[in-house]
Amino acid sequence: MCPQVRPSQEDLDRLMRRLRPRIAGLLVSRNVSPEEAERLVGEALIEIAYRWSRVHDHAGWLLKSLDKKTRPWLKITKEEPVP
């Protein structure tokens, strides 16, 4: 079947509802602040909306995208001295 050209708002809401716990887990593990989280998640959601028809595994893409976007925080966490 031809992939849907664009997502509906409901598609995006459903995707986010499903992934919220996993995204939160990722952000906690990398110590991303809620303010940065808002920016990064918003960015990733807009990107997936534009790529909707080209990407088959939307959940996988969104998680991977956020994993990439938060890698700099992983570095910061590792470099912090252990108290």
């Binding site: 906690v28 808002e38 918003g42 959601l45 909306a49 990407v55």
Partner: protein
């Protein structure tokens, strides 16, 4: 997960709510933009070539939706109208260059630029401008790195680069690039694109002379593609499969697959697809010694290529036809066809081995001693050229 982690997880709830709200607002604009893209494309493509630069300066044309639509049109055009596909690819690059990074964000803009350059590269390759294709690909990779390296864009560029290496005769490098793209599509569970890439890999294997592997990989590709998503792809893949079966000496199996595919060619194939089917059919008949049927198919297809001005392919068909006559011992007709096709082959840049075979044929034409062995030798060399 510790209770502390659970608490911290819930800290993100308001952030997620705000992010989703922001997306809702931007998404409405995105939908409006996609709706407007079709009419923008219509205005842009209806304008005379000289006037398009002026239009592109207007901010309403600086839209990601328009860029995506031009890329879609470029893909639709590249098989049948490669020159038009190059123009569409260049227009997509021009639109992508003007996208506002504040409105879309750096990642999306750079990704659009990478895809536009990659499409232009592939259109140039199909149009036989390999140098421009190489330059465009370099730009695609540069923008892809700046974009943050989206996996699907990467797979697309890898696949286009694989096709370029294939056209340049670098078959092993092409196979390596296709394998890399395949791994990305498998990870992304994109079965259709995985199938399409397998079919492309089959082409590189076939060109490289690894016919058995080409047959196996093309069959896997055919099993993976969604024909509804890209109907012509199935025609192309079946054609390749018939060709590799024939080339590997399995002419009976090739004929069986051909018979099963005939209806598909009639329903979906373009006139040139059907013509090429008739050509491979003629070659199979020749191999099976069914000379009358071979002559009928090849004579018909030669006339079609000549009528359309596809001189090189017409000369290749003449070579097959000359082999039919050589098998019958009809030396006069062999001599006539050889003399007719020779200047067309000589006008092309071919590899040294094929050039040597042409010199041999030239000598045989001049002394009126063209034989089946000389024709078969030339046919083999031209296939590899």
């Amino acid at each position: 997960m510790s209770p502390m982690h659970d608490d911290r997880r819930s800290d993100y709830t308001p952030a997620f709510d705000r992010a989703e709200e922001g997306v809702r607002r931007r998404f409405a604009r995105h939908v409006e933009e996609l709706d407007a893209a079709a009419s923008l494309a219509l205005d842009l493509l209806a304008a005379p070539e000289a006037g398009r630069g002026e239009l592109l300066r207007q901010p309403r044309f600086h839209a990601l939706g328009l860029c995506d639509l031009l890329l879609e049109r470029c893909r639709e055009a590249w098989t049948e109208e490669p020159a038009w596909a190059v123009e569409l690819g260049a227009l997509a690059v021009a639109v992508a260059d003007r996208l506002d990074t504040i409105h879309y964000g750096d990642g999306l803009v750079e990704d659009a630029r990478a895809r536009a350059w990659a499409h232009l590269a592939n259109a140039c390759r199909i149009g036989s401008d390999l140098r421009r294709a190489e330059e465009a690909l370099a730009s695609a990779w540069e923008h892809h790195r700046k974009a943050g390296e989206d996996a699907f864009t990467e797979a697309e560029i890898l696949s286009f680069e694989g096709s370029l290496r294939n056209s340049q005769g670098q078959f092993e490098e092409a196979i390596r690039l296709f394998d890399h793209a395949l791994a990305i599509y498998r990870e992304g569970r994109d079965r259709h694109r995985e199938g399409r890439t397998l079919i492309k890999k089959g082409t590189a294997l076939g060109h490289g002379g690894r016919l058995k592997e080409a047959i196996r990989v093309t069959r896997r590709g055919l099993a993976s593609i969604d024909a509804a998503e890209e109907p012509y792809l199935e025609v192309v893949a079946r054609h390749n499969l018939i060709f590799y079966l024939h080339e590997s000496g399995e002419s009976r199996e090739a004929l069986t697959v051909l018979e099963r595919s005939r209806r598909l060619y009639t329903v979906l194939g373009e006139p040139l697809h059907r013509a090429r089917l008739r050509w491979v059919e003629g070659k199979i008949f020749l191999d099976l010694g069914r000379l009358e049927e071979a002559e009928a198919s090849l004579t018909e297809i030669r006339a079609i290529f000549l009528e359309r001005g596809i001189a090189f392919d017409a000369a290749l068909v003449s070579l097959d036809l000359a082999m039919v006559h050589a098998r019958r011992g009809n030396t006069g007709e062999v001599q006539r066809l050889a003399a007719e096709m020779l200047p067309i082959f000589e006008s092309r840049d071919v590899r040294s081995e094929a050039l040597a075979a042409l010199v041999l044929l030239r000598g045989a034409v001049d002394t009126e001693r063209v034989s089946l062995e000389i024709l078969e030798h030339l046919s083999g060399q031209l296939r590899r050229a």
